[in-house]
Amino acid sequence: MKLIVVLFVLLFLAFALLNLSLSRHRVKLSNRAGSFDVGQQGRFRILGYLLLFITVAFATAMWGVSLGLVYWFATATLTSILVVLLWTYKPKFFSFLNRC
């Protein structure tokens, strides 16, 4: 159970960062709560992809390759949809990443 929570949080963070790294999306937040610069955007993208790789490694190490990948894909689906919903209806939620 704890492992799932760790995987969930890390993947959510990864998708949140990747989402903000897309320039078109960034505009939405900068209008409302502070702005992001280009350097930040690059950092977010690298960090996001890095987190994706880390979580794959984490899941396969914890549950074995086949079950680990099932957990990873399942959690990725769930967290990415959560990011979409939050980004549509509560974009301010992501402003905590502003300070990074």
């Binding site: 990747l18 989402n19 078109r24 079950l67 099932v70 399942a74 689906t77 769930l78 919903l85």
Partner: protein
Amino acid sequence: MKARFRQSMSWLHTWTGVVFAWMLYFIFVTGSVGYFENEIDRWMKPEIIVSKGLEDSAITNIATRQLRVHGDNASQWYISFPTSRDPFIEISWLEPENAERKTAKQWHESSLDPVTGALIRNRQTSGGEALYRLHYNLHYVPQLVGYILTSITAMLMLIGLVTGLIIHKKIFVEFFTFRAQKGLRSWLDIHNVFSVLPLPFHLMITYSGLLLLMGITMSPVIDLRYGEGQQNHRQFYAQSQIEQKSQQIIEMLPTELSVQSALADAKRRFKSHKVSYVGVIERNTEKEHIEIWFESKSGVEFASLLEYRAIEDKVILETSLGKAGGAASVYDFLEHLHEGLFADIYLRWIYFLSGLFGAAMVATGLMIWLKKRKAVSSTNKTLTSIIERINIAMILGVPIAIASYFVGNRLLPIDFPSRSAWEMHILFITLGLCILYCGFASKKWLWQRMLCCAALVYGLLPILNALTTEHNIWLSWINNDWLMAGFDLTVLFISICFVAAFWVVRCRQEDISVKAAQ
């Protein structure tokens, strides 16, 4: 060239999607519900008594005593131990055919009272299993037709997925994009969200679904090598599905071999694993042996198997190591992924949700198709109107019909003749009524009224459960009967979702009419 390729793919995407869309939607919804087959079964058999804290050997004692009484001449026995998904004791036995009484061979099953050891008289019900089977046998059509129709639908779905990937130009840039309240743009966005984000699930489920039925769809290939007919095909299955097994002689006398001693030995070998089933196979023949199934803890396997058999003066233990052939192992792997029997509660919920996302993908696809049709002035208005009406009837009728199946389980009298068949009839009658109603009622209120109906029928289920049985949410909660409470709470939540959808549609419609008035 490139543009024309995309255009033709777009055409293919539209038509492979639309032609079997309602069937695809039906398959997605019933298949998703099937992931909770056992949990639904428990709700549909409220007489079951949950067993807690009994030792495995005590359970075996109770079960074998009943099996001796009721299935003494049976060729197979199975005892199913309480697990988190089926927290009760169940026995089943295969009654051989009887020439005198003219009965064919038949499986019987019954759950047991953990305290008295007596058989529990469950109500006759089609249960979760029939609901789960709906997604590939389509119930009323002959089995073969059901399998072939499902396969064709799955093939079209696979084509739809691949072409969808090709025509989606900005898959990465628009990965997280949903622009709400922008008309057709929003529908396209949400269609993409439901398709792209659960894409691993969609691809896996469609491809493995096709593969699971390949024995039917690819049967000419088997004919070519093994000859036509079931008898010949069995040879193919026997040959391709050979299990790899390790054998060892164990320190036990053949006279000592019994269900109890085999169970004790198996538990010594797998200390940390839980026993899920015990079976006695080919009873009263020379090939009689005992099977012990453990809950598996490795990969996507559901269970691991130990077999005990007495040969001359020794007892041989066989351990299954999976399929011998490479193709069969791939088949097994995809089958396990498709069925998700290995899934814990977290994965099970995501399986269920992903299935519903699939259904939503089909539904939103249909909405887009209809909206585009309506925008073109040359389209046949009556035809689009009929399709639109059936569309509403299917999108909301299927969930309503499933709920009515549960209502049937609670409201049909216990001694109603062919009760379990009628539960299923009720499901399809309800679906038919939904289509009929949507065909004739005023289109303006159709979404709202159907949503209202869905909310009501799902909200009714926990109340019916409380009124007709001794289970209600409160009691299930304090008795830790999580499956019962879980089912009631889930349908209640679904009901709330329908209420929310009802409000959204209502507010939208009011907005539109205010604007129209201005």
